[in-house]
Amino acid sequence: MRMGAGERRTAFHALDGIRHSLGKIELAPSHLTILLFLMLCAGLLMLYAWPTDSAYQKVSPASVALMQEGEWVALSGQVQQVDGRATGTSIQLCGIGEGCVRVFASRKETETEGLLALAPGQELRAWGEVAAATGGTRYVRLHRTQVMD
């Protein structure tokens, strides 16, 4: 859409207004140094001091049964069984020499076609949140998966 002369003038005036209101700000090298120092400090705080309780927690498949509903977990294991269902795909994932956990990808929330092609024995990394099925059994509702070659 072509701007009319009036609208264009208004846009230019708005820009001039910003220029005018910033008129008293001087851009000296010392200001840039302070800005960079603040960015460094903010970055270090976010990287090393930010609470990361809600981030994915690395766990083994067996320990999911003991976890609280809603906790975000990252786990890896061997695919034992894959079931395609009307609502999504369910995978039985087992750690080496330990227990298993059921991970579930809802058709609504996740791309499930690739998961159906998984074969027993394949190594899978999974990220998701702990959910409780009827009866209180814990399973992992998948956010994302990665097949390890």
């Binding site: 851009l27 840039l32 270090l44 990287l47």
Partner: protein
């Protein structure tokens, strides 16, 4: 996701070295090294560090030798112009200010955008194709003379066909081959750089001082940078900057440079927020990190933290390296340099993308020279990105 402080320092230093060499984009580094290092918990953060450092430092090669800078290929035009006027040091300072301020502002705005981005995406998506057609038309008609607009349309469509082809080829970094061809090779072939290199750079009283008149353009750049993350078709800052030149009065190359640099900086910063809230990342490295491990709101502080540190270090390095290099630049033997640079770019393209990449580079170089000969704006080669975006928006 976490990173050891020593590894972080190592990644930042590596990022400085890699950023000074055109062609070693974090996209390429990630493509090559992720199969080996992808399982390390720190690897995504190493990539973020490389991206952040490069964000500022990428402008230096673009100012000095007109090589493309990441996704802001037309950033080389105002920077190289200032270099030719002997204002290379000022161009470096403008890029440093634009990068630092835009990253800072985008970091502050990110928590506010996080909850509203999904709704904004959904609202804009149906109109993307029409907006892009409108934008392309405006870009071509900006030539003003009918004959020139016709020639611009030819260049735009040819670049569009080449872009559509290149983006569908199995190339690691198709944009590098395309934009080295469109901009750098014609400049080397036509001896344009000799003009820049022969010009002694004016000293600055104090490195890092710039006119306050660039501030509005930095603020506008942050707004346009946010828009470039929002519109599915306008995925590169270069496209947004090209369109912005039609709407914003730009009387000086320093203003344009400030606008382009801040679009690039804010676009890259917002890409993390966009990936966490909508799952869509419009920056290659961010998308690759998302494939290694999902980017969630919980991880944003860590990712943005590393990015802020790296952007600050990159900006500092830009000032230091620029201050050292600029006064010495005119002493170089440009004739040998241009051959060496052309050879280096050919080798890099060959290493990255093989003979297919070299083919794309050759065709893009021809088109870049054609635009030059026809006397139309070289920005019309941005059809190489806009045409594929339009085709994609209409499901073609």
């Amino acid at each position: 996701m976490s990173i050891d402080p020593f590894l972080l320092v190592f990644a930042l230093l590596g990022g400085i070295l890699a950023s000074l060499l055109p062609g070693l984009h974090p996209n390429s580094i990630s493509t090559i090294l992720t199969p080996w290092l992808g399982s390390s918990e720190a690897w995504p953060l190493v990539l973020v560090a490389l991206l952040g450092v490069r964000l500022a430092l990428q402008f230096l090669p673009s100012i000095l030798v007109s090589t493309p800078v990441g996704q802001t290929e037309i950033g080389l035009l105002p920077g190289a112009r200032m270099m030719r006027e002997g204002r290379g040091l000022e161009a470096v300072a403008v890029c440093a200010w634009a990068t630092a301020l835009s990253v800072g502002l985008a970091l502050l705005l990110s928590p506010l955008l996080l909850p509203i981005l999904p709704a904004l995406f959904a609202a804009v998506k149906p109109w993307t194709g029409y907006l892009l057609v409108l934008a392309a038309g405006t870009l071509i008609l900006a030539e003003r003379e009918i004959k020139k607009a016709g020639l611009a349309l030819v260049v735009f469509l040819m670049a569009g066909a080449l872009g559509a082809m290149a983006l569908n080829l199995p190339l690691n970094d198709p944009l590098f081959a395309l934009f080295v061809g469109f901009f750098t090779m014609p400049a080397l072939l036509m001896g344009e750089e000799r003009e820049a290199i022969g010009k002694k750079q004016q000293p600055q009283k104090s490195m890092g001082a710039v006119g306050k008149d660039i501030l509005p353009f930095i603020l506008l750049g942050v707004v346009f940078g946010g828009l470039s993350d929002l519109l599915p078709g306008l995925s590169t800052p270069a496209q947004v900057a090209t369109l912005a030149t039609l709407a914003v009065p730009l009387s000086a190359p320093a203003h344009f440079l400030a606008l382009v640099a801040s679009i690039e900086a804010s676009h890259t910063t917002f890409a993390f927020t966009s990936a966490a809230s909508t799952g869509i990342a419009r920056v290659g490295v961010v998308a690759m990190i998302g494939q290694i491990e999902p980017i969630t709101e919980a991880q944003l502080p860590v990712l943005l933290g590393v990015f802020a540190i790296a952007a600050a270090v990159g900006t500092g390095a830009l000032l230091v390296v620029g201050k050292w290099l600029m006064p010495r630049w005119h002493m170089l033997d440009w004739k040998s340099m241009s051959w060496l640079l052309a050879l280096y770019l050919l080798v890099m393209t060959g290493l990255l993308d093989g003979w297919l990449g070299l083919l794309v580079l050759g065709m893009a170089s021809g088109l870049g020279v054609l635009a030059w000969r026809l006397g139309v704006r070289r920005t019309h080669v941005m059809g190489s990105l806009i045409v594929p975006s339009i085709l994609h928006a209409f499901g073609m």
